[in-house]
Point group: C2
Chain length 241, copies 2
């Protein structure tokens, strides 16, 4: 029950926050339908229109999916959405292809200064380190290092199989839904290691994407450094509109 009339915050924001907390807490799980608007309105003690507004905003943020005639559903992780939202690799002609992923290494180790600072944890805190190569048409185009805190993903460093879409793993095994990312882009000469994995000469310019991914509840859950060979591919950004 919401409906405190002393409110400084609008009712629809309170409703949105309450619904969000239920998603975060797992009270409603990905893929499940929410109660309909009238039931939610009755439960929260507001009108249907207020619930509608809250749900509409959540749909705009991709937290729920609304389907006319069927209902409102907790968003399931869609690898294509992620791929194109967080990783817009395109061919020179603008077409998009889904890269394949090969896991190179995978271990438990301290986070270290740089990652710790990015994720807001201690440098000695344990984390799972993964190295991967992404391939397009069988040729390596991205060499990346992914680091996640063991406190948030316990045991991930010991698992045998890491699926290609790691964000699906985060969601389905740990209930962590990645919803935001902050990326810092720069150009670097390829290190010896990166050059080896990408099959290019050491010192070749590579696009470096340092990403901090955030979960629904605002926690920073992943640090990632992607080194991209952009001689034949581009990283695309669409802004505005």
């Amino acid at each position: 029950m919401i409906s405190e009339r002393l409110r400084q915050t609008p009712l629809y924001e309170q409703v949105r926050t309450e619904i969000l907390q239920r998603l975060v807490s797992g009270y409603w799980k990905p893929g499940e339908p929410l109660p309909n608007e009238f039931d939610l309105a009755a439960e929260f003690g507001v009108s249907q229109g207020t619930v509608r507004r809250a749900l509409g905003e959540m749909a705009a943020r991709n937290l729920v999916t609304r389907i006319q005639g069927r209902g409102t559903f907790v968003r399931e992780y869609d690898s294509r959405w992620a791929l194109f939202h967080f990783f817009h690799v395109v061919e020179a002609d603008g077409t998009r292809h889904e890269p394949k992923t090969e896991l190179i290494s995978h271990r438990l180790a301290p986070a270290g200064e740089r990652v710790a600072k990015a994720l807001g944890i201690g440098p000695e805190d344990r984390a799972t380190w993964m190295e991967r190569v992404r391939l397009l048409d069988g040729r390596p185009v991205i060499y990346e290092t992914v680091v996640v805190p063991d406190a948030i993903f316990p045991g991930l460093g010991l698992v045998n199989v890491i699926p290609s879409s790691i964000y699906v793993l985060y969601e389905q095994f740990y209930g962590v839904l990645v919803s935001t990312a902050e990326e810092d882009l720069s150009a670097l000469p390829a290190s010896a290691e990166a050059a080896r994995h990408l099959g290019i000469a050491e010192g070749t310019p590579v696009l470096a994407i340092e990403r901090i991914a955030g979960a629904l509840d605002g926690r920073r859950v992943e640090w990632r450094l992607s080194l991209c060979d952009t001689r034949e591919h581009r990283y695309r950004n669409h802004l505005g509109g």
Copy 2:
């Protein structure tokens, strides 16, 4: 007057489209207030709520600014908004600074194959070419080439002064409001020319941002190639949320 009840498209979309066309056509000019919701509703033959929804969506897309107690205003170009929306240069520590701009050259010439293809014009069509350097703390960090069709910006190639924020010029002198951008990012070795302007060694990796900017009415109005020295600065992207 809208309100055709045979509609396939919702009324609020028709209202939005009609208002957008008035912005594009200059019927309402940047900075000017729109009529209030009731007057617009009466003019279009819809209810206030429908106008409200149309305006709310336009506010979300940054086309108008709504201020409680004052009214709804046609958005004026805000250089800071653009800078951070289209060009998020950040220091290593994440702070943002507005770069200064120096115009290096400025001439009228054919668009050429690459630009013509990007802008959807003919390679022989005339265009204004501008070269600029952007500086942070007096040091060059970005060397960029900006090309715009003479058909859209007639005489720009002959003007003496080009202001630092070129998008303000587009808007105030030509009524062209840049609202979208598509960017392709890659890493390149600095050419001799870029190296000279950036004060770096030839072959140093630079971040290349090839941008096609779109106007409110959907026309592609600018092609731009920015070569960024990212040794001490980053280009930041915020996704999701």
